[in-house]
């Protein structure tokens, strides 16, 4: 699949740099503390332009999930089926992230199941955030 690259305007550079350091960060307003993801240049709550990044635990829960069977991209022809999860991060205002759930692709994933971020380094020099089920 295509590799992620920070936008030229720099809006999300810290997110991808942090991932390389195996840290998960989301945007947090320096004025009112509101969490925000994906990033934006302004806080949607208090409208300050002073927004920063905040490291989170990487623990979350499965908000929704799907099993993909049809390869929409040539690179996925041998990868189907695979699981996509939408993960909510309770320690970051329930912002959500999208990733793959590692493990058995035939799993019936329980809604709200606890998951943990896994940092997947790629030889091209970028790191993806994946997820695995945990007991907590």
């Amino acid at each position: 699949m295509p590799a992620p690259e920070a936008t030229r305007d720099g809006l999300d550079r810290e997110f991808w740099d942090a991932a390389k350091r195996h840290e998960l960060v989301v945007q947090k307003c320096n004025s009112c503390g509101t969490f925000q993801f994906g990033p934006e240049w302004i806080c949607h709550k208090c409208h300050t332009l002073d927004v920063g990044w905040h490291r989170v635990s990487g623990r979350g829960r499965v908000y929704s999930w799907e099993r993909v069977w049809h390869p929409a991209h040539p690179a996925l022809k041998s990868a189907c089926p695979y699981l996509v999860v939408v993960v909510e991060l309770p320690d970051a205002g329930n912002v959500r992230m999208v990733g793959n759930l590692l493990g058995d692709p035939q799993l019936e994933v329980p809604f709200d199941a606890p998951v943990e971020a896994v940092f997947e380094d790629h030889p091209e020099g970028f790191t993806l955030i994946q997820w695995k089920l945990t007991n907590r």
Binding site: S64, E66, V86
Partner: protein, 389 residues
Amino acid sequence: MGEFTIKDKVAIAGLGETQYYKRGAAPVSEFRLALEAIQRAADDAGIPVTAIDGIASYSNDRNDSVRVATALGLPELRFTNMFWGGGGGGGSGAIGNAAAAIVAGFATCVVVYRALAQGQFGRFGATPPVRTISGPIAYTWPYGMSTPAQWIALRTRRFMHDHHITQDPLAAIAMACYHHAQSNPRAIMYGRPLTRQAYDESRWIVEPFHLYDCCLENDGAAAVIVTSAERARDLKQRPAYVMASAQGSDFRQGATAENGPDYATSNFKTLAPRLYAMAGIEPKDVDVAQVYENFTGAVMTSIVEHGFCHPDEVMEFCTFENLTAPNGRLPINTSGGNLAECYMHGLELIIEAARQVRGTSTCQVKDAEISMVVSGPMVAPVSDLILRR
């Protein structure tokens, strides 16, 4: 609504369609298809094409308004408008914008069109083989989450979980569309009925969507002539009066990486009340609805958000019997819609809604007075429309 309303001031007076083709099968260029559909719509209304003085479209239609006006020799172009956003979200909104232009006096006769030739320009459902990506899609594409089917499946799935919904309503919606297409010789799926067994046995695209839960991709063009109610009354066809149109999006529905706060929504929770308020009617007054099917799950949530049933009543309401003409409680997509007639980004749904008001549908709902269109569910922005006889 006070004086600021388009209610009953404007009508759909002409309908035009080219033949609908399988994806990539159009024998002529997309721009020529657009011109043919516009000419047919003008002929249907009984006006010369040069009477058109306004142009509106949506979904970044490639067929530029000034090129159209130039090609057709329009003497005076007074209004050009493009509804923001992709997919089918702007279909009803383009009619609403045309109506607004007429009520405001910007134009007198607006054509709304949409043309697609995917052989010429590439597909919607495939992800281009690029090496790198950035911005919002960088949070989803690298994980193989890159198509509308995949993001709408995630929302549908959460809605089904929250309200204890099985595959049955999705199957019923697909089968209703295919059933209606069997009476419509223009439909791509005419002569190809869908059984529940064939639905269940069809391959998964992305759970919970089987192949038959997903819209077609087609070539062709459609066009609609919108003019004042007063003028429409003197033209060739029975007018389909515009009672109301609404457009827009709910709170932060554009948040990237699946962060719309209200997640499992078709994005009509703020629009539907505005639509009904402008029309001055309630859901029970609607005789027939054309609900944009990108995927069946979004039809289901649109039916709920337009007040036809409570989320916990979906299993009882969204049945084949209830969704089919002529006797269902809410017949939907009576030409076959995006699933079985043609994927013309939902402009074919608006044409069918007007046909129901005219009494000329191939699956006519008896004495249909009030005809609804829902455009673009689970995208942002979205729009909707109510027509009346």
